[in-house]
């Protein structure tokens, strides 16, 4: 790294990494592996799980029972990650995930959170005015569908298993995975045909 471009936070990061290895907390290789896993995680991982759940009822049941095990089954690295809970949308009830305290997010299966997930506005409105919040994402929740907001405050991370959209009958899991977006697994949007 060029010293001309080095910022105080770069120096702080280098110092923390040096301390972690000097004190035997982690090795350089372990830090590099964790960075690689974190950077590789993206909503495409969660989308593969959702698509498989839509096409494989036995997998769906396993995913609802233990999200982390179901992720590992899809070769998503979960070692050292918090437990993953999966919230099942039904025709009667839709789920929306927020972390009002900070920014708890299922990074292993969704990657880095979108910028708005950590905003004070999203966090405040998701619990108090969730229907109004959904409208701003262009999501109109039918009046008869109950809205269940899950505030992620502790040791679990949560993702939504959305409803499979009509018009996708006969699609392969890969085709289905391609239409599942980040917001569909947070609950701010519904999967829709491209």
């Amino acid at each position: 790294m060029s010293t001309l471009l080095e910022t105080p936070s770069d120096r702080l990061l280098a110092a923390v990494r040096q301390l972690l290895t000097a004190k035997g907390v982690m090795t350089h290789d372990e830090i590099a592996e964790r960075i690689r896993i974190t950077d590789a995680a993206s909503p495409a991982q969660g989308a593969r799980m959702v698509a498989r759940a839509w096409t494989d009822p036995a997998y769906r049941a396993r995913m609802l029972a233990d999200g982390a095990k179901a992720a590992e089954e899809m070769d998503i690295p979960m070692r050292g990650m918090p437990p993953l809970g999966v919230l099942e949308d039904t025709a009667e009830q839709h789920n929306l995930v927020v972390c009002t305290l900070c920014s708890c997010y299922p990074r292993a299966v969704l990657g880095y959170p979108p910028f708005w997930f950590k905003s004070a506005a999203y966090r405040a409105r998701a619990v108090r005015d969730p229907r109004g919040l959904l409208l701003e994402f262009g999501t109109v929740l039918p009046a008869e569908v109950k809205l269940r907001v899950v505030d992620s405050t502790a040791d679990y991370r949560w993702m939504v298993l959305p409803l499979r959209p009509a018009g996708t009958e006969g699609w392969s899991a890969a085709q289905l995975a391609a239409i599942v977006r980040e917001g569909d697994m947070i609950g701010t949007t519904f999967p829709r045909l491209p």
């Binding site: 619990v127 108090r128 005015d129 969730p130 109950k146 269940r148 907001v149």
Partner: protein, 95 residues
């Protein structure tokens, strides 16, 4: 750890404000203090993050999904149910 709370048990979140007494780390949102909810599910048991945050010895505590009625918390609430992860140390029997 205390005895497990069965799903359906009515509980009250302690109306306690440790943040007014000094530095602390809290996983119970302020909007729930004193609120009544219903235990939905036992999620497992985890070392208390309020102690872990200060590198203190941490007791393992039961963690529950507790369901609240949003309209009982905010008069203009828009959701139908609000479900929050809460540690047993924050829950007391509802009067």
């Amino acid at each position: 750890m205390s005895a497990l709370l069965a799903p359906g048990t009515v509980v009250r979140v302690r109306d306690d404000w440790p943040e007014t007494r000094g530095p602390c780390h809290i996983r119970t949102p302020h909007y729930l203090r004193g609120a009544r909810g219903v235990v939905e599910k036992h999620l497992g048991a985890f070392a208390n993050p309020e102690e872990l945050a200060f590198a203190r010895p941490a007791k393992v505590l039961n963690l529950y999904h507790v369901r609240f009625v949003p309209a009982a918390i905010w008069p203009d609430a828009g959701g139908d149910a609000l479900v929050v992860e809460l540690f047993e140390s924050w829950l007391e029997a509802a009067a």
